[in-house]
């Protein structure tokens, strides 16, 4: 065996070059993505609206005049400005405790967006990590976690979330936990499936032969290919999670009552439906528009990046 060529160790310069190359590719991909997005006007609209929501949510405490938690009882149940009796002081009217609805809605968006982003982010992280590991290594780890995932999946979502919230009590972290507990499974299944098919590709074999460690193969070689699908799934699920959060708040199982959340606003307005339709309806519209925007954006993204995920 005299003809064996010794395997060259990868030098630091080579590594840096690799990363710079990757960054360039990534930037190229991003510009590609943006140009393609240009051709999907609906998706762009969704993205812009989403961005608007995020910006408003971040600026909410600075641009609103009223206190979202305390109201002026003398001004309770004023209608929105376009109805009879409405004023520009309260463009969207007030609720039963005289709190300005516009302010409350803006503050509510902070909660929903925070919960939405965090839940999706954490689910995606956990799901991807577990999925990649299980997909790549298989074995007993895969068996256990897959069975656990199947078990979790066999429950209707809301029942599970209600149960968890009841168990943990109200609170922001509890809410995120409850929502994440079930949704990581979807990411897990996606990544695991993708990893199983990537594993058989030739470049993985090539990497192994050239001495790359398993962890490195996972993170550097296969994962970049899978990440796009994960991203698409994340956008598609975010709308759903925001609705879940609103539903939990509606039932009174979300955040503590003093924090304005859209779901609890809708619930509180139920007693006044006959006299003040806006208290329940307007926060609901805020939810609807946000989820619509996210879904439009997500579907557009999916059409561009990964049409395989269709028919969900």
């Amino acid at each position: 065996m005299e003809d064996v060529v010794p395997i060259k160790k990868v030098s630091m310069e080579d590594r840096l070059y690799n990363w710079r190359l990757r960054l360039n590719i990534w930037q190229g991909n991003l510009t590609d993505l943006l140009t393609q997005l240009w051709h999907h006007p609906l998706a762009m609209l969704g993205g812009i609206v989403l961005l608007a929501y995020v910006v408003l949510a971040l600026l909410a405490p600075h641009i609103t005049v009223y206190d979202p938690s305390r109201g002026n009882l003398r001004e309770r149940l004023t209608p929105p400005v376009w109805e009879e009796g409405g004023t520009w002081d309260h463009p969207l009217g007030t609720d039963a405790q005289g709190r300005d609805l516009l302010t409350r809605i803006l503050h509510g968006s902070r909660v929903s967006l925070a919960v939405g982003f965090l839940s999706v982010g954490i689910s995606a992280l956990i799901g991807t990590a577990l999925g990649a590991l299980c997909g790549f290594f298989g074995g007993w780890l895969d068996n256990i976690i897959s069975r656990f995932a199947d078990l979790l999946l066999s429950f209707p979502y809301l029942i599970f979330a209600i149960g968890m919230m009841a168990f943990l009590g109200p609170g922001f972290t509890n809410l995120v936990l409850a929502l994440t507990f079930k949704s990581w499974v979807e990411f897990f299944r996606l990544v695991r499936g993708a990893m199983l098919s990537e594993k058989t590709q030739e470049y993985v074999e090539a990497a192994r032969v050239s001495g790359q460690g398993a962890l490195a193969i996972i993170t550097q070689e296969t994962l970049p290919n899978i990440i796009q699908s994960v991203f698409v799934l994340a956008t598609l699920r975010m709308g759903f999670l925001i609705i879940m959060e609103a539903s939990l708040s509606f039932l009174g199982l979300g955040l503590p009552a003093r924090i304005p959340a859209w779901g609890s606003m809708v619930s509180a307005g139920r007693d006044y439906l006959l006299v003040a339709w806006w208290v329940s309806t307007l926060p609901g519209i805020a939810i609807l528009v946000l989820v619509l925007a996210i879904n439009l954006f997500g579907e557009g993204l999916r059409d561009i990046l990964d049409p395989r995920l269709k028919v969900e």
């Binding site: 979502y157 009841a166 009590g169 039932l251 609901g284």
Partner: protein, 336 residues
């Protein structure tokens, strides 16, 4: 042969349901606060000494494994426990509320499928026409809408403004109905009570629509997508080449194949239906199991929560089984 497999599946269901019960049991016990706390909180009806006695009666002072043991042995005797908050056996509470939930779920399923199936088929056949675009836009809206909001908007429109439909409950106060099965629609038909039939149907409309439309949106999209695929296949072209009329081609050849993936999605949606049940029941004051679960969680009514959740788990697993059976009938390549 098939029957054997079905029986096998039913038998597997039992440990699952029991497993669920145990999990719920543990959950409730590990929660802060127990029923006695709640009762004490209700205007001091219970003194400290009373509390200790009650705890002993309810077995709450015993170690967890003992409680679990008592629970399981009771279960095997078919005793689901006693609700201390409501002062009635759990079984009777559940059997009172269950038909309402099932009636609502069936109503939603009927409404949902009645909308989704024609919409899915027509949108696929007339792809890119205005009907297609409108339906898909509607479906998109349907999946982006929070269910509770839809219910409230419908209430506002039909009950409050137009006064067409009732606001809450299952039956008008003015109508009396003999309770045979617990399904009001069925009972009114059985007793020939037309006033009750009318009233129960009117009460069923809005909740069914609220629960059924979001489901219809998902199913319509999937059906359309599958139909588009099947309409492009070679066997559909062959059917035309055989001289089959277009309606026959669409309904017999294409739809039958398109239903296969759609049924799987419908099965998943049933799970969503069961979950959404709770919200719709709350919005419309529907006296069903869903509302019971939510209330009893707040009241720390352990036995009731356990019983109700077990019931839900049972229904869920049963429906999955039914969906699987339907699936094997539709798809000859799969044998259970």
């Amino acid at each position: 042969m098939r029957l054997l497999k079905i029986v096998e599946r039913i038998l597997v269901m039992i440990p699952i349901v029991i497993g669920v019960a145990v999990i719920v049991f543990l959950f409730m016990r590990l929660m802060p606060g127990d029923p006695v706390d709640i009762m004490m909180g209700q205007g001091g009806a219970v003194s400290a000494g009373e509390a200790a006695r009650l705890r002993e009666e309810f077995n709450l002072d015993k170690p967890l494994r003992v409680q679990l043991g008592i629970f399981l042995s009771d279960l095997l005797r078919g005793d689901l426990g006693y609700s201390y908050i409501q002062k009635r056996p759990v079984v009777s509470l559940i059997s009172e509320r269950l038909p309402a939930t099932i009636e609502l779920a069936l109503g939603a399923l009927i409404v949902g499928l009645a909308v989704a199936v024609p919409v899915g088929i027509i949108s696929a056949v007339k792809q890119n026409s205005w009907i297609d675009r409108l339906s898909m836009a509607g479906a998109f809206l349907g999946i982006s809408m929070p269910g509770f909001w839809l219910g409230i908007v419908l209430l506002l429109l039909f009950s409050v403004s137009l006064n067409l439909l009732p606001v809450q409950g299952r039956l008008s106060q003015t109508v009396s109905l003999q309770n045979i099965t617990g399904f009001y629609v069925l009972d009114s038909l059985l007793t020939g009570n037309w006033a009750a039939l009318r009233s129960s149907l009117r009460h069923l409309v809005l909740p069914s629509i609220t629960l059924g439309l979001p489901m219809a949106a998902v199913v319509a999209r999937v059906l359309r997508s599958s139909m588009l695929e099947t309409l492009r296949t070679d066997y559909v072209t062959l059917a035309r080449a055989k001289g089959a009329p277009e309606t026959g081609v669409v309904l017999r050849h294409a739809l039958r194949n398109a239903l296969i993936p759609t049924v799987t999605v419908v099965g998943l949606q049933v799970g969503v239906l069961l979950g959404g049940n709770m919200i719709v029941e709350t919005v419309f004051g529907w006296p069903g199991l869903g509302r019971t679960v939510v209330e009893s969680i707040f009241n720390r009514d352990f036995p009731l929560v356990q019983g109700a959740v077990m019931m839900y788990a049972f229904i869920f697993v049963l429906t999955n089984l039914i969906v699987d059976i339907i699936y094997t009938y539709l798809n000859p390549k799969i044998q259970m």
